[in-house]
């Protein structure tokens, strides 16, 4: 098998991030995923970096490839009646349809779930948007995962108490929502294999985001306190635990040595004032947090971050550099598991994208292929999946439907 989902067919009408990430999961796991795009309205992700060699261009976005790897591409105008007809033929072919249009758009094109279900009763269709398809604020809410993060409560938890929130890194819920979309699709596929039922699935990015910070919501619901940003990394219940400066510009290491075993190893390595019997117990460490953090920082400040990580881990102290992009590119673990993979493109040459996020023994996942160029597989998809002959395809092209 080319992965556990070999033979599953997915029509991916989504764009930017959340939908494409979900489609990529399914492609990585072996599904045949067809991405719909058009040259007149390209996937906005193509306008976002990083670009190969930092040169923008609609076929140069590495983000695009990272989120669309392994898919095939069809460029078509779905607003044209004949374009719509092609979509319906692909619905006949597909098990799963993904879409992330602004709520209401597919209804206006008569490609919403009611229409698709009438065409194919057991279709599994997912709509994903910032706030979902229903509710008083759904209509008109369109955007990216930074907005989902803000409305999930996550953005407000990140920052320093004496400054405005810094917010999440990037459009955070674009990465969180697929973790609920994909399980929903797979659970629906399981049910379909038993009962033959399809379904419609509506996932709001903001609501998915809330799931990842649920303990904070429970704190409010149960204790009536509103969690807020606290800046310093780590828990008030552990010490030492936090981020410490290292030699060089913006180099940091996390050390998490609150348990007695980790602490005794750390103080042996650091030595100096940390050997003081004052710091033998957890309670005394918590009461002397500032002095301990100061001593650890003084020790780390002049040291190389990577070497310190290696040295501390070698003696059994949990530690890791705060990895930057360059560190990830060089990382021994990521190289060992072949997580970063070369892709080749006729226009920009070679680039590097991520591999799948899980591995299956005995069911190797498919090779990581770059994402499709705009309309790269149009003819093949129309021929093989829609049953069209060359004459029909040429006609579509001439009439401007394949754009």
């Amino acid at each position: 098998m080319a992965g556990p989902l070999e033979g599953i067919r997915v029509l991916d009408m989504s764009w930017v991030m959340v939908g494409p990430v979900s489609g990529r999961y399914l492609a990585d796991l072996g599904a045949d995923v067809v991405k719909i795009e058009s040259r007149s309205r390209i996937d906005p992700l193509r306008t976002l970096g990083p670009f190969k060699d930092a040169k923008p261009g609609s076929e140069r976005s590495v983000s695009y490839h990272n989120l669309n790897a392994g898919k095939r591409g069809l460029a078509i105008n779905i607003k044209e009646p004949r374009g719509r007809d092609v979509i319906l033929r692909l619905v006949d072919w597909a098990d799963v349809v993904l879409e992330s249009f602004t709520p209401g758009v597919l209804e206006s094109l008569r490609l919403d779930y009611a229409n698709l279900k009438a065409r194919k009763a057991d279709i599994i269709m997912v709509s994903t948007s910032i706030l979902g398809q229903t509710g008083p604020h759904a209509a008109g809410t369109s955007g990216v995962g930074t907005m989902g993060a803000a409305m999930s409560g996550a953005s407000g938890l990140i920052g320093w108490p004496d400054r405005p929130p810094s917010g999440t890194y990037g459009p955070w819920t674009d990465g969180v929502a697929p973790r609920f979309i994909v399980p929903s699709v797979l659970a629906a596929l399981h049910r379909k294999s038993r009962s033959g039922e399809g379904c419609y699935i509506d996932v709001a990015q903001a609501e998915a985001g809330i799931q990842f910070i649920m303990p904070a919501y429970y704190e409010y619901a149960a204790n009536r306190s509103i969690p807020t940003r606290r800046g310093r990394a780590g828990s008030p219940l552990r010490c030492p635990q936090g981020v410490y400066p290292c030699a060089g510009e913006d180099r940091w290491i996390v050390i998490d040595a609150s348990t007695d075993a980790h602490w005794s190893r750390l103080r042996e390595v650091v030595g100096g004032g940390l050997a003081d019997a004052r710091y033998d117990t957890l309670i005394s460490r918590l009461r002397n947090r500032e002095a301990i953090d100061h001593a650890v920082s003084e020790w780390t400040r002049t040291r190389d971050a990577q070497e310190t990580e290696t040295e501390l881990q070698a003696v059994g102290v949990p530690a890791h550099i705060v990895s930057r992009a360059g560190d990830l590119a060089r990382d021994l673990h990521l190289r060992h598991v072949n997580h970063l993979r070369r892709i080749e493109d006729p226009e920009f040459g070679e680039a590097e994208i991520e591999g799948p996020r899980s591995s299956f023994y005995g069911t190797p996942l498919a090779e990581t292929r770059r994402g499709p160029r705009i309309g790269e597989h149009s003819a093949e998809i129309l021929r093989e999946l829609c049953g069209m002959d060359d004459r029909e395809i040429a006609e579509l092209k001439e009439s401007g439907v394949l754009v």
Partner: protein, 407 residues
């Protein structure tokens, strides 16, 4: 949807979200804890800030809809019982501690079972022995290096994220294995690295260097020297407003934002008339200037300052802006959007009649509804019934297991 699936979750912090997603979809999930309780029971915050094995709100949040047994997997009887239980289960989720292997290594696992093992940095390779905690895994994900202000240390989430990332990833993996099994494959053995799962939060950062780009820096966005904040202060809190949104898709949103700020008198009309879709190109061609962007930021700052989150949110929807209120937990609780959509479901937390509404329905289905069928289990709450039903343990044998500390 998964009512015919039985999952054994050897509880670790990183398995909890995986089991919960499956349980929310109706799977019968049985949590296996050591006799002293799973580590997740000792995770803050605690009910009324009072610690106790039944009081962890993290445990409650991530273990609803599951049943729980205790079993000492280091005891011969514990290992024998797990082997017997497994004959009745479809999937296993477990966490591997660095250096110690996975809890079920060495146990005879039926060929039909889908087994997913979560480890921090994979079970082999140069970092497989690394000791890891949430902060360690998140530090290795990349995202914190770009989070926060450049004059201070990187910022981490106050809610552990690696366990959410890894757990959700494991749910995907287990379900993919189950779908493969439905389609005629046998059981599956799969592995999830919490670090690689957590790298999702770093977006495309891992690809930056390998694609010929410079190392990005943690700093507030500046464009041609103009500071562009992401979050603006408003009358009653903060508002996210993405000002530097250009290009054909996003530029129109910036155009509408600029028009509104000018309409409200917070900046000159000519700034609203700048073509924001083509601004980066015009800036490069020197037909636009950084001062225009500064003026827009200033206009947005004044616009936000005079309005509430709710007013700004309403306008953002009406005008179609890349903007949203920065909501706290009370805002979420009071939001008519979440309320009317049916996100909430009541969850008993303390088993003594104390109920709270929590945001349960992370997905809405046309013919299924995520419900709280049972609260998070108390320690060993279901040991007797599970061992009786799935391992034919008699009441006398159960007492013997308890006396010997196996349960």
């Amino acid at each position: 949807m998964l009512h015919d699936i039985r999952v054994l979750e050897i509880s670790a912090p990183e398995t909890m979200m995986a089991g919960r997603i499956l349980a929310d979809f109706g799977a019968e999930v049985v949590v296996v804890e050591p006799p002293g309780g799973a580590p997740g029971r000792r995770m803050e915050p605690f009910l009324a800030d009072v610690p106790g094995v039944e009081r962890s709100l993290t445990w409650h949040a991530l273990n609803r809809n599951k049943r729980a047994i205790t079993l000492d997997l280091n005891a011969a009887d514990g290992r024998e019982l797990i082997t017997t239980l497994l004959r009745n289960f479809d999937a296993i989720i477990e966490g591997a501690a660095p250096g110690d292997g996975a809890p079920l290594d060495g146990i005879d696992i039926p060929g039909t079972v889908v087994r997913c093992t979560i480890s921090p940095f994979a079970q082999s390779g140069p970092k497989s022995d690394y000791l890891a905690t949430d902060l360690i895994v998140m530090a290795s994900s990349g995202a914190p290096s770009m989070t926060g202000d450049s004059d201070r240390p990187p910022i981490f989430y106050s809610v552990p994220q690696s366990i959410m990332e890894a757990g959700a990833e494991a749910a995907i993996t287990v379900l993919a294995g189950i779908v493969a099994r439905d389609r005629g494959a046998g059981g599956q053995r799969a592995e999830v690295s919490a670090r690689i799962a957590a790298m999702m939060s770093s977006m495309s950062m891992p690809t930056v260097i390998g694609s010929g780009n410079h190392e990005p820096k943690r700093a507030e966005t500046t464009i041609a020297g103009a500071r562009v904040p992401a979050i603006f202060e408003c009358a009653d809190g903060y508002m996210l407003v993405t000002v530097p949104a250009f290009g054909p898709a996003f530029g129109r949103m910036t155009q509408r934002l600029a028009k509104w700020a000018a309409d409200e008198g917070h900046m000159p009309r000519e700034i609203a008339d700048v073509n924001w879709s083509t601004f980066p190109r015009d800036l490069a061609n020197k037909t636009s200037t950084p001062d225009q962007l500064r003026a827009l930021v200033e206009g947005v700052t004044l616009l936000c300052r005079g309005k509430t989150k709710s007013e700004l949110g309403t306008a953002a929807r009406k005008l179609g802006l890349l903007a949203a209120p920065v909501m706290d937990m009370r805002d979420i609780s009071e939001s008519p959007q979440y309320r009317e959509r049916g996100l909430w479901n009541s969850v008993p937390i303390t088993h003594d009649g104390c109920d709270f509404d929590v945001p349960v329905r992370f997905a809405q289905f046309s013919n299924f509804s995520i419900e709280t069928r049972r609260p998070a289990p108390t320690l060993s709450q279901h040991t007797a019934e599970i061992l009786r039903d799935y391992a034919a343990i008699s009441p006398t044998e159960l007492q013997a297991l308890f006396v010997h500390g196996v349960i």
